[in-house]
């Protein structure tokens, strides 16, 4: 049985209590994206500034549980200053991180695992790996991925892939 410490790692609680990059950029010029988890009311509002190929600024607003809010804070720290391509790679890698265990937990075939491994290959997730424990709590995965789906939405708007 996974314990609370698997879910609420110290670094997650730190981001929850002291969220980074809080606020909203004026939009326009910034792009605004809203993510909503209808089941639990978690809400993430991203405003991001993309100049050329770089996410030059990114602020997070909204409200929700510690996992959704910590995940958005960590996401903002990881993505700010990165190129759009790197940001998209992080999105893929993070989603892979959230699915890899899921498929292992579910005892499904290897395919999902291999695919996930590919997405994770060579990507430095750093602090984000602390969120790995979330997959042991399936109902909370949506909390962790909310910020990332919202980021994807925002990027699709500014720089369609």
């Amino acid at each position: 049985m996974p314990g609370l410490e698997d879910l609420y790692r110290e670094i997650i609680l730190d981001h929850y209590r002291a969220p980074r990059n809080r606020g909203e950029l004026p939009s326009p010029p910034a792009t605004r994206a809203e993510g909503f988890n209808p089941l639990c009311g978690d809400e993430v509002v991203l405003t991001l500034q993309v100049d050329g190929d770089t996410v030059t600024d990114l602020l997070v607003a909204g409200q929700g549980c510690s996992i959704s809010q910590a995940s958005s804070s960590m996401m903002s720290a990881a993505v700010k200053g990165k190129s759009v391509a790197e940001a998209r790679q992080l999105i893929r890698a993070f989603k892979a991180l959230m699915s890899i265990h899921e498929s292992k937990l579910g005892g499904e075939g290897d395919d999902a695992g291999t695919e996930a491994d590919n997405a994770l290959d060579g990507v430095q997730l750093g602090d984000l790996e602390a969120l790995q424990g979330v997959v042991k709590f399936p109902v909370r995965i949506k909390c962790a991925t909310l910020a990332w789906n919202t980021l994807e939405q925002g990027l699709d708007e500014t720089s369609p892939s």
Partner: protein, 414 residues
């Protein structure tokens, strides 16, 4: 003279096998009966026996087994009618749940009687089951929805009711809020509706399991209920409606059972209540429901209600004593108009995080919007944690809740 109607909870608990389970080394503290109740052995066994012994489709076969199944199914209808003090079993329409019952009212009665500009009055404390069907009708044919506001302690604010009801065709309200616990005075609302020449539909999903209901004394027109919250199985609920109303309503779903005759040119409908029961109904579920009603009657709803008032008061006091101004609880403070439901927020900790910690102590509560988003918006909170009590809960359960919350507070302490 002392009236001893207190429940022997320890004995009752033994009737509910799931309560013997342990999670993470703790006994299950089940505080989510507002979502669904647990089932006593008698309900589980009677359904098992039905499948082993009596199973056949109803209203179709001439053979003895089918007759027995039909008799069992119709006996449940009669039992439910008696339980609600309905004047005849044909006023009981079985559906899948309360949600389907409200949809039946909106689709069938609303479909026949409501036209553009007609008014349906709802309240801000409604479950989505009594909101979305009306939104759907509003989108389709432009009916107007009006909303009864709430007072600060979570009661219906009835000051504007006469104006809201002016020209209205229907008042559709809950009799017990699944978030606030508020018990509404249905008779008063029915009188107000009728005085305005409107009908009244009551979402009694949270009332019927806990408080004795007499639909005639309520003077209601429609009452929706759901079996799984009243110790019965999932998959069965229903609508009570006055016979003359049902007679005048067009069918809801089409198919077998609900017809008298079908030709290549059309069909004629069966008598009530079967007119509204298309297809094979929840037969074993009806049998289980009857056993659930028997169980509730044996225990006595009056004793259940008294027990829940005491337990809710105890839990509210314990929560406020322990967490002081760090907890916000919602709903009326007057226990006589409050069911066994406590929605709350613990300062600075999201409802999901609270219930995650509670889960580790095997304390099962609900976190979220409780299918009442207009109410959550009104309260200005995205989610609350909700503990709800039933006849198998006791003070030890409330204590476990408080202790586990204290742990959550400590865990998330800044």
């Amino acid at each position: 003279m002392s009236l001893d109607v207190s429940l022997d909870v320890a004995a009752l608990r033994r009737d509910f096998p799931v309560l013997e389970r342990e999670f993470h080394g703790h006994r299950l503290v089940y505080l989510d009966s507002a979502a669904t109740s647990q089932k006593p052995t008698s309900v589980i066994e009677v359904m098992d026996t039905f499948y082993r012994h009596t199973n056949a489709n109803v209203h179709r076969g001439v053979y003895t087994l089918a007759e027995e199944a039909t008799a069992a199914f119709e006996s449940a209808r009669a039992r439910m009618a008696r339980f609600l003090h309905a004047s005849t079993p044909s006023e009981i329409v079985f559906t899948k749940n309360a949600t389907e019952a409200m949809n039946l009212v909106a689709r069938s009665w609303g479909g026949a009687h409501l036209h553009e500009g007609d008014v349906v009055v709802l309240s801000l404390m409604e479950h989505h089951a009594n909101v979305v069907p009306w939104h759907m009708l509003a989108a389709e044919r432009g009916i107007e929805l009006r909303w009864i506001p709430l007072t600060d302690d979570g009661c219906l604010d009835l000051e504007s009711l006469p104006q809201l009801l002016e020209g209205a065709a229907l008042l559709s309200v809950t009799s017990l809020s699944n978030v606030l616990g508020t018990i509404n005075d249905v008779r008063h609302l029915a009188d107000a509706a009728h005085a305005a020449d409107a009908l009244i539909a009551v979402d009694a999903a949270q009332t019927i399991p806990h408080v004795e209901v007499d639909v005639t004394a309520w003077d209601a027109d429609f009452v929706a209920w759901t079996g799984h919250k009243m110790l019965g199985p999932t998959g069965i609920g229903g609508l009570w409606a006055r016979e003359n109303l049902l007679e005048g309503m067009p069918p809801f779903l089409g198919g077998g059972e609900m017809i008298r005759d079908v030709t290549v040119d059309g069909f004629t409908t069966n008598d009530i209540p079967w007119k509204f029961e298309a297809g094979t109904p929840p037969i074993a579920e009806a049998v289980g429901l009857e056993a659930a009603i028997d169980y509730l009657d044996d225990v006595g709803l009056e004793a259940v209600r008294r027990h829940e008032i005491e337990l809710t008061g105890y839990a509210l006091r314990a929560l406020h004593e322990r967490f002081d101004d760090r907890i916000t609880t919602y709903g009326p403070s007057d226990l006589s108009i409050r069911g066994g439901v406590i929605s709350f927020l613990l300062d600075g900790i999201h409802a999901h995080d609270v219930s995650q910690v509670l889960d580790e102590d095997a304390v099962a509560v609900r976190a979220g919007h409780h299918c009442a988003k207009p109410l959550m918006r009104h309260l200005g909170v995205p989610a609350t944690t909700r503990a709800s009590f039933y006849l198998y809960n006791d003070e030890a359960d409330a204590d476990a809740l408080v202790e586990s919350l204290a742990r959550a507070e400590k865990f998330f302490a800044v």
